[in-house]
Point group: D4
Chain length 178, copies 8
């Protein structure tokens, strides 16, 4: 279904799927971080409910491409991550998309409460979860890929330094009342 | 979608009722789908609390018209679906309308947690639930009505194809990092 | 997988499936009522997560047998009802099994909050839901099957009479204080 | 349906109804207090779902008997209090019975979240709510009935004194560490 | 604290209090209905937490004025209704104001979950609850006040007729698909 | 109300109150720790709802005794901590007692969601919260009382060491698979 | 409110920390009140997750400065207050910041549900909690600092008077219906 | 702190930690599966709150041992998984232990709702989550370890076959009514 636009496109190491186009804004957080960490990925819409027959083919593709993991975002009765995990041993990272009525509480429970036997690694509701799924994917790769490890270490060091360098309170006296 | 009544108006096969005018925006999702699938329906406001005496008359009407089902939407302490189900064996499909303070959690529990003996088939909070109630009504009819079955099969095929044809990611490189 | 034990076994009209053996106690409520209403059914364990490849085959079987509906019970991140509904237009009735930690709140949301396009008719958490799914299946059949309609009407009349006949308060003075 | 066993039974001032025999244990809390406060009452099972036609007749009876209020207990999708309030202006006091799966959260929301126009006065989940409904009924009567007012005042004084007299900590040193 | 502006102002029959000025928008729903039903009332801000000493004085005032009930609205950890009920036998009707973070779930539980012994009649979160508290106050008065009963009966008949007269669906054919 | 049994009883530094005798089992966790840390305390039942007039007298007593803080435990619509905080500036530590139907969720929200202006320091539901309230009281005293500081430091060191010394895994091979 | 540091800046008595710059708007409520009550404080961003090594150093600083307490605000999986409490006996006041998806329910539970042994005094979700943490800090200081006690007493008296003086209802007739 | 009992003990590939001895029953589910899949692991109690200084040392140990991941179980305000993730890039798998009052809802939110920047892969509440964390750890190892992959594949095949072989319904007639 997806044909690399150019021969030199790197083989993806992470697959990012989402249940609906409307999940894209959330999942962008994962895509941005993967790109920032220079981790090749592929992305597509894959609906557990509207395209259930693609579950097996994508699971097979993930094994064929030897993906290190699949990041799957979905909302409401979010079955995509769990069903992919049912069809493949490739690790699945689930991102609960914030739903309209229940703010993602339904998405979270539908993803995280998997019965014993088929695991889905679940992250926070919404874009924070999407970003953390990408960082977790990087951490998985970092165990065997020095470049990813270096990129991840730099990312973590940078975000730590950003707190330390916070200019906000620097110019201000720390003691409040005079 | 609705045009003035004429003698040849088809006998409705589905009754759509709602507890309040303010539920109309939600229930429009059901009406649109029923029209799209060419299923004759009737629609009215019917309040379990403000017009309780209409419950028996509408239940009788549903049996007289031999409706295949009643789609009933209501919010908050949503008693309309359950009370209709109490008065008639005609299958009742309940749609929890998203309420203001509790986002439909009250509507959902008031509809779905029926005690044993009087069932209400419940769908998702809000317009997704209204749409799915209509699709479920179509599925009921499809078991004996070839035209509805064909329309429903086409609807499902179309929504599947819409995911497959998703143009969104086509123009973008599918592999993320270069 | 299931071969009728004897040729004269009636063709099932309702399929009852559950995600795990541990759901049986809950689903017994449906089986008992189907039997009481003389509705032929078949029953099996079918795990969306542990036997995902059976989803398509059971969906095909349901269409081949022309089942009037499938009653599917599951708990936790309960994907079975929704995934069956993804694979077939045969109406799916979902029963949220009461889960250990969250008392079925996860089961309920995982089943009822289906996105627009693929409906699952959802019933109450636990055995009340299982019973009501069976009664709803009977109501579906009753629209075209006189015997089921008569059995259902009798069931409803009986349970109404049981309340009217309640002997409990008869021996007690109905007026409290003397 | 209920015929006073003896002519001299006092006319009930409060009607106590419940959706199911299984609610009796909870509602006993109300009956005991009404008896203790010497308020005549009648009690019966009245199911909104299994005996819906009784709603109108009981509402008419409540007006005919000039009941000061109706105490209605129900669990799950608890429609009894709200439907009675729909059929009569007689004040309805709702008691959410603790349900099995959701501990009465469904009962509470189904009773308290009534839409504007038809009020139900709601009390706590379970027997505490049943007792308080009885005390509230007494408070209503107390505005015009001196005997009830005296009984209620005595009840309140007694329960206050019971705290003041609490013997528990008397034998223990009140200062902890020596 | 409140001195009637003119001698001829009628003695209030209902006291409306609220925990904060910010609750006024919600409680306006009660005031409007009381005025519409011609029930004299008084209104004031009375904070359980910021003016706790007023609790006893207002409770005494309520008894002195022989108020038929107190309508008390509050949000968050809403202690006002329960504390008034602790200080007086005058019936207290609690209105949970919709809070910012938790949408009134905290207000509702803080008001409705009173322990056995001190009842607060609780209504829905927000303005629906405020309106219903006023209607319930009217229903209490209606048991002994013919004018209020007539006004309440008219109000209920009017709201029923408003549903029956709903012009929305009248001009439209009730059968949807052609 | 409480008169020290002997003249040499130390002046209490912490007041422990609870809304009901039934809260004692929970609050025992606080009493035991205060005793262990050698902090003099007094304890009594004080019901915001059944003995509201005691609120002012206990608040006055707390100021007169110069208590460093009041630990107040209550369940359900738990108003005791907040009302004490309304009547005195003495710091109030609230302990939500686990309630029957809602497991203390009502207690927690009724205590912690205080509006701006009157603070209650809230701890975990149940005995863990009671223990931590006592430890927090000790921490408050420790800022000016060397003996309490030493006792608290020892307590913390001991509980740290207990983890380090955990004998449980010592006899077992720490590496799992052989 | 805060002006450049000068040698005579008073030693802070309260430390205010927050997990992220985005928490500042919430915590401003605490800073304003501390300034109003003339309590010297310091403020900084301190992320349990992004700058975990600062936890020990800030805990040591709090003890070195002999802070009377630390006010710590955080959202989502809010670990900052609990981890500071793990590293120091200095009392920690936790403020749950309102999170995006779950409105601070996650923040609240992550802060308040500390296990026995390490207490965090928790306040309401959002700015009300921040303000109350500051008032509680003042109450702690007030036990030994006359100036703070006077400032706090004045603050409380003023907010009480503000309710009493409420001009809102003055221009309106207090009795509703004429 | 842990010294392998014998030189030939295999270097652990997975670290299993838990916040308290009382979490052991839950985490046993992970240990059993790791042993069954022949994955060397080490296990210890490590309390974020009672032994916070061990967080850095265990994080360093995990990096030194080149653990493929850390499985961390904790309950209530469960900070252990998130704090370990703060201190090391080694992937952390969090298991929410079912807590007493809130059934693990607090544990779940405290673990899964990590802010962007520091991920924790979260699994279901209780033993199902512990088992799935172990299976997920196996899946991580399986990407580079053929023996683990074979063991995991066999495990998954076996659990699938167990459903297919389910003897339960075999002896029963599969068609219900005769």
């Amino acid at each position: 279904m997806t044909t690399p636009s150019t021969p030199q496109a790197p083989t993806p190491k992470v697959g990012v799927v989402m249940g609906s186009r409307s999940d894209f804004e959330t999942m962008q957080g994962a895509l941005d971080l993967l790109a920032q960490l220079n981790i090749p990925y592929e992305v597509r819409v894959l609906s557990a409910h509207r395209t259930p027959h693609l579950l097996t083919s994508y699971a097979a593709r993930a094994e064929r491409l030897n993906l290190s993991c699949i990041i799957a975002g979905a909302g409401g009765a979010a079955h995509l991550p769990g069903m992919l995990a049912a069809f493949t041993r490739v690790p699945v990272l689930g991102v609960p998309v914030q739903s309209r009525a229940l703010s993602g509480q339904d998405s979270l429970l539908s993803i995280v409460q998997m019965p014993a036997g088929v695991p889905v690694a679940t992250f926070a509701i919404g874009q924070a979860g999407a970003k953390n799924a990408a960082l977790f994917a990087a951490a998985l790769l970092a165990t065997t890929d020095d470049a990813v490890r270096a990129a991840l270490d730099e990312f973590r060091a940078t975000q730590t330094q950003a707190v330390l360098d916070d200019p906000h309170f620097d110019g201000h006296p720390q003691a409040g009342a005079q």
